[in-house]
Symmetry: C2
Subunit: 213 residues, 2 copies
DNA sequence: GTCTATAGGCCGATAGAC
DNA sequence: GTCTATCGGCCTATAGAC
């Protein structure tokens, strides 16, 4: 697969109803089942169009998949709301950031696309990059910038802000996250999520809180 | 009449050369490509047997896959070597544990099976559990026991040893690990691995080192 | 653009000879 | 147990009518 597979930003948003139906059906099926098990017949049937119409809009199953999933990566990207300004309680701020990030990571849409990106990254190398760039990388970069500012202000002691940001994200993905990715029951509940966030914040502050806390 | 008490003819460890060839070929192909893309024809061809022979040993593709991958989970399990006894330098001990664990997590065999377990856990729920039980869960449990002992001895300050162990593992899986799972270049090199371990140990000791460090 | 119909191939699984 | 040969089905993709 070439990297041009993802570059399908048809300059004019094609609002053809059939095309839209195809995209919606393909998104639903691919996200639920991945690439292999979904047939073009099934997509055509779910979209209420014929296979010929399907192929009139998308040259091949590969291209349809890459278009759908690549676009989906940016669509479910982590909501990069701004981090709070100075003066708020550090623990509350971190807890809020952690809750938002972990909630995003555990959301069914995120899990689906992450699962698909992981397994299809061999066949579609651009998917891995698209997913990383769509959320995690940018989030860590922004969090690092915020941490650096807090460090400069003396409210954190994190000389290497990039590492600290990466580690805060990592602390939010303990075994519970792996268990969710592996679909091992029981699914994480709200209490477990909160406990994970609280523990991550606690450890982060123990490691990076201002000296002489 | 059966001539042995130890082996049932069809069920267990059959040393038949054909069966062994099937297992080896299927392992290689499934690990490299996952479930869907590998056909029974391909496995038979790679094992130099006919498809009929294949089906004489394994009732279906599903069962063959579950047998192969389930067994593989325990085979590539993390080497649970004992943790060092008392009296050694804490930083060195943690660094050694971290290097071994991260090296294991990034090994191609581990990445393959983890990728497969993640994507096929919907179709084969037992795979997720098998993978978790084969390594990560037990490792965290053992690490937690060691941390609890160190806590009791006053060499660590980790009241909740289970959380601390889980977080140490999590600190070893920053973005670099996600990048590896997504097959995004460049692959982690030795320097990056060492830097990740050192940073994880540093943060862990900042958070859980003995008070008044 | 959209349809029906089908080409052409590979799939999982089996029958029957030995 | 092991083989050859094959079945019936589903797959991607296309031809041709409208």
């Amino acid at each position: 697969m070439s990297e041009t597979l993802l570059a399908t930003p048809t300059a004019h948003a094609d609002a053809s109803p059939k095309r839209q139906a195809i995209i919606e059906a393909a998104t639903r099926l691919f996200m639920a089942q991945g690439y292999g098990p979904v047939s073009m017949d099934a997509i055509a049937r779910a979209a209420n169009v014929s296979k010929a119409t399907l192929y009139a809009h998308f040259a091949s199953k590969d291209r349809l998949f890459a278009t759908i999933v690549g676009g989906r990566c940016t669509q479910v990207a982590f909501d990069n709301a701004p981090f709070p300004a100075d003066g708020l309680d550090m623990r509350q701020v971190l807890t809020g950031i952690g809750r938002r990030l972990l909630g995003f990571l555990l959301a069914p849409e995120t899990q689906s696309i992450l699962r698909i990106a992981i397994v299809e990254s061999a066949r579609f190398p651009e998917l891995g990059t698209a997913f990383l760039d769509s959320g995690p990388s940018m989030f860590i970069t922004r969090l690092a910038a915020w941490i650096a500012a807090e460090h400069a202000a003396g409210r954190l002691d994190a000389p290497d802000a990039r590492v600290a940001a990466d580690q805060f994200g990592a602390l939010l993905r303990p075994l519970m996250f792996l268990r969710a990715m592996l679909a091992v029951k029981p699914a994480p509940d709200e209490a477990e999520i909160m406990a994970t966030v609280d523990a991550a914040v606690e450890t982060f502050l123990r490691a990076y809180g201002p000296r002489g806390r």
